[in-house]
Structures are given as structure tokens and as C-alpha cells.
């Protein structure tokens, strides 16, 4: 009943992963070009999928593409950059309804793959390179997108935290590139970079839905005949070790905000491919992954300090972040409570109930993920990038087996790195106007 991936080699460094299932009415397709995240090329890489989205030789404008997709019964098409650990991945995503549930039988899965082939192989060009106008506009849109993070303060705080925490590491680079470099991307060098990426990057295509793998493989070979060259070997999830022996840094930033945002960054010392990863999941769950977690209970429910207070893992890199929205004058109290909870875990102050509820919550989340094509594919991508695919049933068994000692061992490896606080310029200023 559950979608299992069947993997087929299509070409050099080019794999197709198909999970056939009749449970969904939709076929979901994701194409991923994997790159190491590195200064020097990350800005150009970031612009590429957005330029590709602008037009193809036969559908040269956004409007032409939109009409084409609407006629495919509202086929979803989007592009993005995925950052997993210290990799930067070009992602093309499509979603089409299955013919069986539509008034006309159009063969939408094949059409979707054919459309992706058009986007990748015959982009709109002028003078043999990308259209100058498209490149300039999309680079500018990315620059604005980076700047617009400020419209959502918790996201902005986490972005600033990662920048401060990982300055000098590839992880500190923004997935959409460098703001200054975005102003200098030209169509010629971008097109050259694109041809290089297409030839040299590992490519994976994922298809989940009511499909037949053999047929999908035939369509991929026919419509996605990518010009492959010398493909880069391993693309590691991280490119170097964590910085050692650095004291915790504290960064404060002022803006006229109604609510302060406190964000803390930790180095977990445990990563996705490690045997202790299931224990790390349980650790994060007990600390701040659920409404029964220590942070939610102590910061929100007991102290009434926040509406949100939670922790999040970026396990491919080995980072945990904690974020809470608080009144600016409650900063010392909130910081103290968060640090107490982190310390409590390292001291083994974990109730049986916390352990049990967290195991169950994680298992529920993993099983629920099987109902979402996006999460089925997402889990697979993270596994491939980390060089260790973790099938859901195996991971569930490992989570069931996690003991308090395992959690404490993981907790003792966790190191505080950076505290970031976004606040209004003067305490009490948030009362203005009342």
C-alpha cells in the first residue's frame, strides 16, 4: 500500500526514482540538480531556475507558460533553490491531476515530463544565451526576495542568526545568492554556467503517484535527454568540521518592532547520517518540537511569555535553532528559561512521559508524511544528499528503541554557539500609541 521508490539509472549521474501508488489523485514530479554550496558560483546557480521559468523557445513568455499549464488542468509548476546542509540544489516541481479524475484524458504525466524537458533543454534565448531582460529581472527579484525576509520577523531573526553563526562557512551563504553579486549577473556567463551545471551536476527525478515505473522511465529518456558530461562525484552534505573552541557570541539588533524575537543557535555534534540521529530527533522533540515540549510548556504555558517558542533541527548541517517571540523587557527571563531547559536535558531531567510522548509524536509525524507526496520525496532527497537513505519503517524502529541515556549522550554533545535578539530601540516603546 505504501509508496516504495524504484530507482533506475537513466544516464551518467542521472537517476529516476519512481514510487507508484494509487492512493493519490495527483502525480508529483520533482527534478533536482545537486551542487555544493560555494561562494563564487552560488549566486549564479540561484538565478538559473528562475530564468528557466520565464520562458522556453516555444512558450517564450510567462503568459504563454501560464496558458499552457492552465490547459493541462491547472498543472502546478514551480521552481526553487533547496539548501540542504552545505548543498545548493536547483529544484523543478510539477503536480498534475490524474486523467482518471478529469473530464478529458490528456496523458498529463507524460505532458508534464515533456514540459520539464522543454524548460531545461530549450529555454528562451537570444544571441545564443539567456535573454538579457529575463536575467536582469529575475536577479532583481531574488535580491528583493532576500530583502523581504524582513517582513516576517521570526524568519528574519533565524536568517540573521544563521549568518552570524556560520560566517565563513558555506552554510552561512544565502541560498538565493549574494545581494551585491545579484546586481552583476550577466546573460552570457549565466548561460555558460547553466550548460556546465547541466552537464556536471548529479540529477535526480522523483515521481510519486498513480503511474507505471516502466512507462515513466520511457518518458524521461525521451523528453529529458540531458547533455551529460563529466559528472562531479560525491557532493558532501557538509564541507568541513564545526568551528572549535569558540565562545558563545551574542548579537542584538534594533528595529521598531511590536515584539522582540529571540533566536538561539546550537551545534548539535550529531548529524543526519550518524547512528545517533534518531536520538537527536527525540532530543529536539523533548526540548521544543511539540506542544508538550519543555520550551512550549515552560516559556508559553507556565511563564505566559510567548505565543511561539520552539526548536528546530537542520540535521544535515548539525545545527539546532530555538526561536521565541517575546516582549523586549522579558529578554533575560526568557533566555534564562530556555537555557535551563537545554541544561535540564543534558542533566538527564527527562520524565518518562516526555520521552514516551515525543517518541509517539515523531512516529505519528513520520507515518503522516507518507500521505504527502512532497514529504515522501523530501525525505528521499535528504537521504541521498547525506549518503544514507533512512526508510520510514526503519527510522520508526530506531526511534522506538531510543533510551533516556541515548538522549542524554546526544544532549551532552550540544554546544551553544550564538544568541541573536531582535528588539525595539527602547524598552517600553512597544506601548507607544496606547
Amino acid at each position: 500500500m505504501h509508496a516504495q521508490f524504484e530507482t533506475m539509472a537513466i544516464d551518467r549521474g542521472f537517476h529516476l526514482h519512481v514510487a507508484p501508488t494509487d492512493k493519490f489523485k495527483t502525480t508529483t514530479i520533482k527534478l533536482v540538480l545537486r551542487r555544493s554550496l560555494r561562494a563564487g558560483e552560488h549566486t549564479r546557480t540561484a538565478v538559473i531556475p528562475f530564468v528557466l521559468r520565464r520562458g522556453t523557445q516555444s512558450l517564450p513568455t510567462v503568459r504563454d507558460i501560464a496558458r499552457h499549464l492552465e490547459n493541462m488542468y491547472g498543472a502546478g509548476f514551480s521552481v526553487d533553490i533547496g539548501k540542504i546542509g552545505e548543498t545548493q540544489n536547483i529544484e523543478l516541481f510539477m503536480e498534475v491531476a490524474h486523467d482518471r479524475f478529469l473530464p478529458e484524458k490528456l496523458g498529463l504525466t507524460e505532458r508534464a515530463l515533456a514540459f520539464l524537458g522543454q524548460v531545461l533543454l530549450t529555454p528562451a534565448t537570444e544571441d545564443g544565451v539567456f535573454r538579457r531582460e529575463y536575467v536582469a529581472q529575475e536577479a532583481e527579484h531574488l535580491r528583493r526576495r532576500i530583502q523581504s525576509t524582513i517582513n516576517h520577523k521570526p524568519q528574519y531573526a533565524l536568517k540573521r542568526l544563521r549568518e552570524e553563526m556560520c560566517r565563513g562557512e558555506p552554510f552561512g551563504l544565502h541560498k538565493y545568492g549574494d545581494e551585491a553579486e545579484l546586481g552583476q549577473v550577466g546573460p552570457g556567463q549565466l548561460y555558460e554556467h547553466y550548460r556546465h551545471l547541466l552537464a556536471s551536476s548529479p540529477v535526480d527525478v522523483f515521481v510519486v503517484g498513480p503511474v507505471e515505473p516502466g512507462a515513466v522511465a520511457g518518458w524521461v529518456k525521451e523528453h529529458l535527454a540531458l547533455p551529460r558530461g563529466q559528472v562531479e562525484g560525491a557532493i558532501p552534505a557538509v564541507q568541513g568540521p564545526d568551528p572549535q573552541g569558540r565562545p558563545e557570541q551574542v548579537v542584538a539588533e534594533e528595529q521598531p518592532v511590536q515584539q522582540g524575537v529571540l533566536a538561539l543557535g546550537y551545534r548539535t555534534g550529531t548529524r543526519y547520517p550518524d547512528d545517533d540521529y534518531p536520538a537527536l530527533l527525540v532530543y529536539n522533540g523533548i526540548l521544543g518540537g511539540f506542544p508538550h515540549s519543555k520550551l512550549f510548556v515552560n516559556v508559553r504555558e507556565k511563564a505566559s511569555l510567548a505565543y511561539f517558542a520552539s526548536s528546530h533541527l537542520e540535521a544535515s548541517k548539525g545545527i539546532m535553532t530555538v526561536v521565541a517571540g517575546i516582549a523586549a523587557e522579558k529578554y533575560p527571563q526568557a533566555l534564562a528559561i530556555i537555557r535551563e531547559q537545554v541544561a535540564a536535558l543534558a542533566d538527564g531531567a527527562i520524565a518518562d512521559q516526555e520521552l514516551e510522548h515525543t517518541r509517539k509524536g515523531l512516529i505519528n509525524a513520520l507515518l503522516s508524511g507518507r500521505d504527502s507526496p512532497g514529504r515522501i520525496i523530501g525525505g528521499r532527497v535528504v537521504g541521498l544528499i547525506n549518503g544514507r537513505v533512512r526508510p520510514v519503517p526503519a527510522l520508526i524502529e530506531e526511534i522506538r528503541a531510543v533510551t533516556r541515556d541515548d538522549v542524554v549522550r546526544v544532549a551532552q554533545r550540544v554546544r551553544p554557539d550564538t544568541v541573536y535578539f531582535l528588539r525595539s530601540p527602547a524598552a517600553g516603546a512597544e506601548e507607544e500609541g496606547h
Binding site: K23, K25, A97, S148, H152, V257, Q353, H434
Partner: protein, 429 residues
């Protein structure tokens, strides 16, 4: 137990439903193969229901803004401790939300479904409001409100609703204000609870790999013995809303990256619900997609002029006594965007949509609707949303396919009326 079935030929899905003697409506959609089972228990009670007559006494009551949302938070308090814990013990994930027209409590689980459903039915029917609980919640919700106040998009949208409406409570923020929530006390919470949380004003929707008859029996076994007396519908008191807008333009300054722009068109005399309301909802959504979607001439022109980007969008929202569309996004020049948009819409009202434009967005809407049916959350919440407004989610799909170009053009000319438009702009500090 007597139950009925509705079926969608296109989707190949069925919903089994019944109405219990207490008035509670229960709906189940079986989805074999899904791991997750999802249940939602909703009251036809949202932020706009701030004036009403109390059942029995007929006494008129006006309550503080934000109380429906506050009550939703407070139902998570029970005598033993926190409701979150009891769901965590079952491996279930519980949550709730409040909108303009409804309050919903929900859980999803891959295990212990029956126990979790019992727990859901139980905590929603067991209010426990205390002065201490209320005090604690004020601190939490104040932070929730301030979080929204720091979002330029939220301010943009709220300012637009305040400009569009003179009196209708849709203009009030669902969470209320930092001041209004301080006026909430246990007594008022109980008055709202007693008025709106009666089974005759509520419904349950369950979707997943379940046996519909077993679910209906379980709900009846829980609710039946509680001995609810039958009750007529709640009398909600909405103020008289003039057809015109309150203000045609409102501006604010906030820390934001770039200017934000929203244009609203207000309906005069919108149907409060039922099939006519649904039809208007469907037709208007198609008109917006054809007029302003990514395949439209107007969108392409605005995009080429660098006045809009990918985040530009248009949607229609309507409920009892209100109906409006919101069009907008980030822009480099809100005034220029406004001028070009109004010109473009006037041109379109003159020319009308072409048959082919409508057919294309109809195809798109049908396909997207089918795609949504892979989301159990969409099914349950969408179904109850339409049901509470006297319409049906399945009927939505049928109606989509029936709309003609004449009907779409009539609606386009009626809706894009410059005399019932308002603009909200947020400029960066």
C-alpha cells in the same frame, strides 16, 4: 442509525452523513490507504459573531473583540492540566483555529484514532474557564497579536477591511486587540460558549481510512447521553452595512522591505449563504483568475512594467453580510500600480472576457480542485466551511463547470465597480 450518502462521480469519493437528535451533524469520508486519520469538530461561530441574542432569555449581548479566538485557546485548559498532553499520550497531534465564520478543533493521528476522537469530543464539550486561566491567556494572546502587528501584510489586509466596511465586524481583527482581550472574563466566555457550542450549531468531519458507520456510532454514543435539548438557530445581530466603502484609501508606514499594495472591491447586498452565495463565490473566483491570473494580458503588462512579481494575487472572500475581493502584492510603485490596474480593469469591463479565457481558467480550477483532494486537511476544513455557509464542496466542482462567459462578464462588470473600491498601502519606514 439512519445515514445518507453524497457521491462525486468525477472524484470517485463519497461522504456519509447524518444529523443526530441533538442537531449535531456528522460527516465521514473514507479514504482507504491513507495513514493519517483526521477529525475536525467545528462550531458555526467566528470573529464576526460579536453581537447576538442569548438563547432562552433573548437578552442581547455585545462581547469584546477577539473573544471567539480567545475561547478557542481557553478550551485547551481542562481540570487536570493541558489538553495537549492527553493527545500527545495517544501519539496524536491536536490544534485549533478561528476564522471570521467558524471555530475548529482538530487532530490527526496514525494510531489510537477512537481514543483521540473521544478526547476531541470531550474537551470541546467541557469548558473550564477560570480567572487564572484567562489571565495567563491574555499574556500569550497579546504576544500573538503583536506578532501579527509586526507583519506588514497583516496590517495591509486589516487596513483594507477597515476601509471597505463601515460597521460589519469582518473589519475587526480575528484575534481582537491588546485592549479588547483584557476585557474578557470567565462569565462572558461561558455566555458565548453556551450560545454557540450547542450541538445544533456544530458539526464533525472525519476523513481517512475509517469505517463510516463506526465513526457515526461513536459520535452518537458520546453526544447522545449528554442530554442536549433541541434549540433553534442562534440569532446573530449584524449592524446595517452601507453599500459604499468607508474610506477609499488608507496608508500606513511600517518596517518593510518594499511598498505593499492591496485593492479591494466590495459587494453590495451579497447573499448570506446557500446556493446563490456559492455560485457567486465560484463565478467571482473564475473572473479573478481570468482577469488577473498569470495567463492574463493585464498581469503580463504589469509584470513587464516591473509593477508586480510572483507574489501578486487576487482572491474573493464572502460570508454573512460581507463579500469582497482583494488584489495586490509587493510593488515598486503603489500609485502607478493602482492607476494601471484600474485602467486595465475598466478596459476589461468594456471588452469582456473571451470564451477561451474562461474555459482555460475553468480547466485550471477543476484540475486544482482534484489535486486538493489528496489533502485530508483541505477536504475536512473545506467541506465544513462550505457546509456552514449552506453550500457543498462537491457542488463547488459541478458549479465550476457550469459557468458561462455571459455570466462571468456580467459578474465582472458588476464587481469591479470603481465606486466600491478601496486601496490599502503600506510604505517602508
Amino acid at each position: 442509525m439512519a445515514w445518507q450518502t453524497m457521491y462525486s462521480q468525477l472524484l470517485e469519493e463519497r461522504v456519509v452523513f447524518t444529523r443526530l437528535p441533538s442537531g449535531l451533524e456528522v460527516f465521514v469520508m473514507p479514504r482507504p490507504g491513507f495513514q493519517k486519520r483526521y477529525a475536525v469538530f467545528s462550531a458555526r461561530y467566528g470573529s464576526i459573531d460579536n453581537r447576538f441574542r442569548r438563547p432562552g432569555t433573548g437578552q442581547e449581548l455585545e462581547v469584546p473583540d477577539g473573544i471567539a479566538h480567545f475561547l478557542e485557546h481557553q478550551l485547551f485548559e481542562d481540570e487536570e492540566g493541558h489538553v495537549f498532553n492527553s493527545f500527545a499520550a495517544l501519539g496524536a497531534s491536536v490544534n485549533a483555529y478561528t476564522s471570521h465564520t467558524m471555530t475548529s478543533y482538530l487532530f490527526s493521528t496514525t494510531d489510537n484514532f477512537e481514543a483521540a476522537l473521544d478526547r476531541l469530543l470531550d474537551f470541546v464539550q467541557a469548558p473550564h474557564f477560570t480567572p487564572e486561566g484567562v489571565q495567563k491567556e491574555i499574556g500569550i494572546i497579546e504576544q500573538e497579536i503583536r506578532m501579527y502587528q509586526d507583519q506588514p501584510r497583516h496590517r495591509l489586509g486589516m487596513n483594507l477591511l477597515e476601509a471597505l466596511y463601515h460597521a460589519h465586524p469582518v473589519r475587526i481583527d480575528i484575534a481582537g486587540t491588546v485592549e479588547s482581550i483584557r476585557r474578557i472574563d470567565p462569565e462572558t466566555l461561558y455566555a458565548c460558549y453556551d450560545t454557540f457550542y450547542h450541538p445544533s450549531n456544530m458539526a464533525v468531519f472525519v476523513v481517512g481510512d475509517v469505517d463510516p458507520e463506526a465513526v457515526l456510532a461513536q459520535v452518537e454514543a458520546d453526544v447522545g447521553p449528554r442530554g442536549y435539548a433541541p434549540r433553534p438557530p442562534v440569532e446573530r445581530l449584524y449592524p446595517e452595512e452601507p453599500p459604499g466603502v468607508a474610506q477609499d484609501r488608507v496608508e500606513a508606514v511600517l518596517p518593510a522591505a518594499r511598498p505593499l499594495y492591496a485593492l479591494g472591491f466590495k459587494d453590495a447586498g451579497a447573499p448570506a449563504g446557500g446556493p446563490a452565495w456559492l455560485r457567486r463565490d465560484v463565478v467571482t473566483s473564475l473572473v479573478l483568475a481570468a482577469a488577473l491570473g498569470k495567463s492574463s494580458r493585464l498581469y503580463q503588462e504589469l509584470y513587464d512594467a516591473d509593477l508586480v512579481d510572483d507574489g501578486f494575487g487576487a482572491r474573493y472572500q464572502a460570508g454573512p453580510g460581507y463579500g469582497h475581493s482583494v488584489i495586490g502584492g509587493e510593488t515598486r510603485d503603489p500609485d502607478e500600480l493602482h492607476r494601471r490596474l484600474m485602467e486595465g480593469l475598466a478596459r476589461l469591463a468594456g471588452e469582456g472576457l473571451a470564451e477561451e479565457d474562461l474555459r482555460r481558467v475553468q480547466r485550471q480550477a477543476v484540475g486544482e480542485f482534484v489535486q486538493f483532494f489528496d489533502s485530508l486537511e483541505f477536504i475536512a476544513n473545506g467541506f465544513l466551511y462550505y457546509h456552514f455557509l449552506g453550500a457543498s464542496l462537491f457542488a463547488y466542482l459541478d458549479q465550476l463547470q457550469e459557468v458561462t462567459v455571459e455570466e462571468a462578464n456580467r459578474r465582472l462588470r458588476e464587481h469591479f465597480d470603481p465606486d466600491r473600491a478601496a486601496v490599502s498601502i503600506v510604505r517602508p519606514a
